[in-house]
């Protein structure tokens, strides 16, 4: 059976050469995103702006969006936003905080109910008062900041500091572009969007870690290779996986957009954009950062290797005899283009026994 391959085999794209293009390009996009945020702003949902959303379904026939729009004036609710979607008998009303505190919000809902209750079912009513919305803003912001700090701390422990910095910058980049995406599309920004942003942060770091992991592995293996070349080689090696994973996640997300319903559509759209940006930034933003930060191959060797070995062996512990026979036929490097240099020459005397046994020369 012929299997499908989306990614070409054994690619040798010179990704690092694009850094002179990708950095200015991303810087420009980030600036645009900030400008959009400042000048165009976000379409904050009631979670953050306070206010009321009422979802209506006409008891018979289609929803009269035109008539509903006039409610704002006749009921003195201020600006009212009426949206029709999907089913022609459905419509949502959204209006801002009413002056007069929490009680005034409830009275406004009552006025709407009184005015349209005869023709429409109120399928969903959400009212968020001014203080609650402020708290949601605080906890949302705190959540994003905390999760970035927590994840970076983890990366800092697991990898070299250059890797962590590269990951921060890539994550920030993804965050900014996602905010820009919300601003330009004017998709509603609510607590679910915070969930989307945090998931994008998670995915972005996931992508970054996969690339960085391979870079670290190759740094140990090819100590004499130029950093840029070595990074290119690593990215090319994980490229089939990157494309494959992005595609599967996209498939799941497209299903959510198409069938998941109105409430989570903005979440799914943001995620699609986020996956795209995260994949891009792990290759074109994070990895070149290592070069700029002057990472040298020997930086990696000291800190990380013993940990990795432990990590691997805790999962899988074949008996020594089986292991020895199993590794007899293992070649040296997975990438044939660059034969590995003799390792014994550089190997410090202090290296652990298990490390030495893994790749016998």
């Amino acid at each position: 059976m012929k299997l499908l391959r989306l990614a070409p085999e054994n690619t040798k794209f010179p990704f690092m050469r694009f850094r002179r293009v990708s950095y200015p390009f991303s810087a420009l996009l980030s600036l645009i995103a900030v400008a959009l945020f400042v000048f165009k702003g976000m379409n904050f949902g009631i979670d953050f702006a306070g206010g009321t959303v009422i979802e209506l379904r006409a008891k018979s026939g289609a929803a009269e969006v035109g008539t509903l729009r006039t409610l704002g004036e006749s009921l003195k609710l201020g600006d009212i936003e009426v949206q029709a979607f999907g089913n022609p008998s459905d419509a949502t009303l959204r209006f801002g905080l009413q002056p007069g505190g929490d009680k005034a919000q409830q009275e406004a809902v009552e006025r709407v109910r009184g005015a349209v209750g005869a023709q429409y079912d109120l399928r969903r009513v959400e009212v968020v008062g001014p203080r609650v919305s402020n708290e949601l803003v605080q906890s949302g912001t705190l959540g994003v900041v905390l999760s970035i700090i927590a994840v970076l701390t983890y990366l800092w422990f697991r990898f070299e500091w250059q890797f962590a910095i590269g990951a921060v910058i890539a994550t920030m980049h993804d965050l900014l572009l996602t905010v820009g995406f919300f601003s330009i599309t004017q998709l509603e920004f609510n607590t679910t969007s915070i969930a989307a942003i945090l998931t994008i942060v998670g995915y972005s770091l996931n992508e970054t870690v996969v690339v960085l992991d391979r870079i670290r592995e190759n740094m140990r293996k090819y100590k004499k290779m130029a950093t840029a070349q070595m990074i290119d080689m690593s990215i090319n090696a994980v490229l089939p996986r990157t494309i494959m994973t992005a595609t599967t996640v996209m498939l799941a997300l497209f299903a959510l957009v198409a069938f998941g319903g109105q409430v989570i559509r903005s979440f799914s759209l943001a995620m699609i954009w986020g996956i795209f940006v995260a994949t891009y930034s792990s290759i074109f933003i994070c990895s070149p950062m290592l070069i700029y930060l002057g990472l040298r191959n020997e930086d990696v060797d000291r800190k990380v290797e013993p940990e990795t070995e432990v990590e691997v062996e805790t999962d899988y512990q074949p008996e020594p005899a089986a292991l020895a026979s199993m590794y007899d036929d293992i070649g040296d490097a997975p990438v044939p283009a660059a034969p590995a240099p003799k390792r014994t020459a550089q190997k410090p005397a202090s290296r652990s026994k298990s490390g030495a046994r893994r790749r016998p020369k």
């Binding site: 609650v132 679910t192 799941a252 959510l256 998941g260």
Partner: protein, 529 residues
């Protein structure tokens, strides 16, 4: 690679079976579930997935103690206490008891009296509030000009607010239970809030109405012409225009009520009324007042509005009576619920409300299911056409992975929300990432010239560290979302976190097992991917 210990094999098979067993009851239709429950012994009720309010419909209402109202009530109580002390000690003051934003002030006519009442006033703090961590609830100051000022401190207000929330929870629970809903959840949130969640409510309007009312019931006398104006206040009437002068002095309070039931006026119009009964103390007080004041009007006051003001024809000593106020049957019913449940100690405002009708909830479930089926279907097909037999293994692992997530939700008793479904669909995409990492690594090693067995082995071993690293980052994000998020977003965080945890078991260990078994029997000469 080939050596896969037997106990590990059986452990995985057992876990899978257990997961399927745990999830199965949730997949049954309600009728089948009931049938199953009837057959099992009573101690073994199979748990099912709890659906969030956004999926099964229901109301989420956050109430907050009205601070302004709380302060004014406390100041009023303080004023009453001060007045009582002045009367007991027979101390005269000049110019009456003045008001300050958070308390009262007064000037004693005779300076010698000042030292007499000051200790008494200071003692008030003990009765005002007990033990709030060393901070005084009241502050008594004296100015050089001879003014005594008593102020309720922030600590005092906070303490009262906390206590009000505690008492409110009890009252709210009784009120909501009286509505006959199933499994309401009533929790305190912070110092001054109560969160009420009632699933599957058909009419959220009634819930809001009974939550919003204080239901402070008082029996007072209607004032007669020529009474001291400082002892009288004008109160609105519910049914009639204009206000009535009512004595401030309360004869009997609603808390002396032992029962209240809706009924119909037997003697006259047959209109809906509320019948009530006092406890012994209430009956005695009511009997006393009514025997002294035959011929006068007394007022039944609910939340500072006069419901009705009947004339006292004969002393009422039996301890029971009737409230009539041109009610509808429903009003009489709701009022009796409110009276039975007792009064809220403070006014509560609705600061957040999220209500989803049952119809919309069902639509969301349908939409979520459709998205999950389509998403999973696409991913399964894609894995199949990309990895062939290895794709089959990955898909089997994916199936177990989904069973594990749902089993986790059931066992944790965590609620499934619409964003939670989105999280599951997302983890379906993410779960195969681990398999992709492993398979691609295997291919790579194989291309580099290793034998099949060595490639398989190296693929699993080398990809594992990456899988752990990349999943930890996702897990951290999910954990923080859980602690900071609320409601539906929490559901998302839980399914995401569960998905990540089970990935490690299913995508790594299970596929490894399946591939080991496959290798053992197929003895391939060529890597099939």
């Amino acid at each position: 690679m080939l050596r896969f210990s037997t106990w590990k094999f059986f452990a995985i098979v057992a876990m899978t079976l257990a997961a399927v067993l745990v999830v199965a009851p949730s997949m049954l239709s309600p009728a089948h579930y009931e049938a199953l429950k009837a057959r099992l012994p009573s101690w073994l009720t199979p748990p099912t997935i709890v659906l969030g309010l956004d999926l099964q419909g229901g109301s989420h209402v956050m109430l907050e103690v009205d601070q302004a109202d709380l302060v004014s009530t406390q100041v009023k109580n303080l004023r009453d206490d001060v007045r009582r002390i002045l009367r007991e000690e027979k101390v005269a003051i000049t110019g009456g008891i003045g008001a300050t934003p958070r308390g009262v002030q007064l000037r004693v006519a005779d300076a010698a009296d000042r030292d007499k009442i000051l200790p008494k006033l200071r003692q008030l703090r003990n009765s005002f509030s007990s033990n709030i961590g060393g901070q005084s609830p009241l502050e008594v100051e004296t100015t050089p000009e001879g003014l005594i000022r008593i102020t309720v401190t922030d600590a005092g207000i906070r303490d009262k607010s906390r206590k009000a929330v505690e008492q409110s929870i009890e009252v709210i629970r009784r009120r909501v239970d009286a509505l006959g809903t199933r499994e309401p959840s009533i929790q305190r949130q912070g110092d001054d809030r109560v969160l009420v969640q009632v699933p599957g409510l058909q009419d959220p309007q009634t819930l809001k109405e009974i939550l919003g009312q204080t239901a402070k019931l008082e029996f007072r006398l209607v004032a007669e012409p020529g009474q001291n104006p400082s002892e009288v206040e004008e109160l609105e009437q519910v049914d009639e225009q204009g206000k009535l002068p009512i004595e401030k002095q309360v004869m009997v309070q609603g808390e002396d009520l032992t029962d209240a039931q809706p009924g119909f006026d037997q003697q006259r119009s047959g209109e809906p009324v509320v019948n009530f009964r006092f406890n012994i103390r209430g009956a005695q007080k009511f009997g006393d007042v009514t025997s002294k004041n035959v011929g006068r009007l007394f007022a039944i006051v609910l939340d500072n509005k006069v419901i009705s003001a009947p004339r006292i024809l004969t002393p009422i000593t039996g301890g029971s009576g009737q409230i009539s106020g041109h009610f509808t049957v429903e009003q009489a019913n709701n009022l009796s619920i409110l009276l039975r449940a007792g009064a809220l100690p403070a006014k509560l405002n609705i600061v957040e409300e999220r209500t989803v009708g049952p119809g919309l909830g069902q639509d969301s479930i349908d939409a979520g299911k459709r998205a999950a089926y389509v998403g999973a279907g696409l991913v399964v097909i894609y894995m199949l056409i990309t990895y062939g037999i290895f794709g089959v293994f990955a898909n089997l692992a994916l199936f177990v992975h989904i069973a594990f997530i749902f089993a986790g939700l059931v066992l944790l008793g965590s609620t499934l929300t619409l964003p939670g479904i989105a999280g599951i669909v997302l983890t379906i995409g993410m779960a195969v990432d681990s398999n992709v990492l492993i398979y691609e690594r295997i291919r790579e090693e194989n291309h580099a010239g290793r034998s099949i067995l060595a490639s398989l082995d190296a693929g699993f071993n080398r990809a594992f560290a990456t899988i752990v690293d990349s999943n930890v980052t996702m897990f951290v994000a999910a954990a923080i979302l859980y602690f900071l998020g609320s409601g539906p977003v929490r559901g998302f965080a839980v399914s995401l976190a569960l998905g990540i945890l089970t990935t490690i078991v299913t995508a790594v260990t299970m596929t490894r097992m399946m591939i080991a078994v496959w290798y053992h029997y197929a003895r391939p000469t060529k890597l099939p991917i």
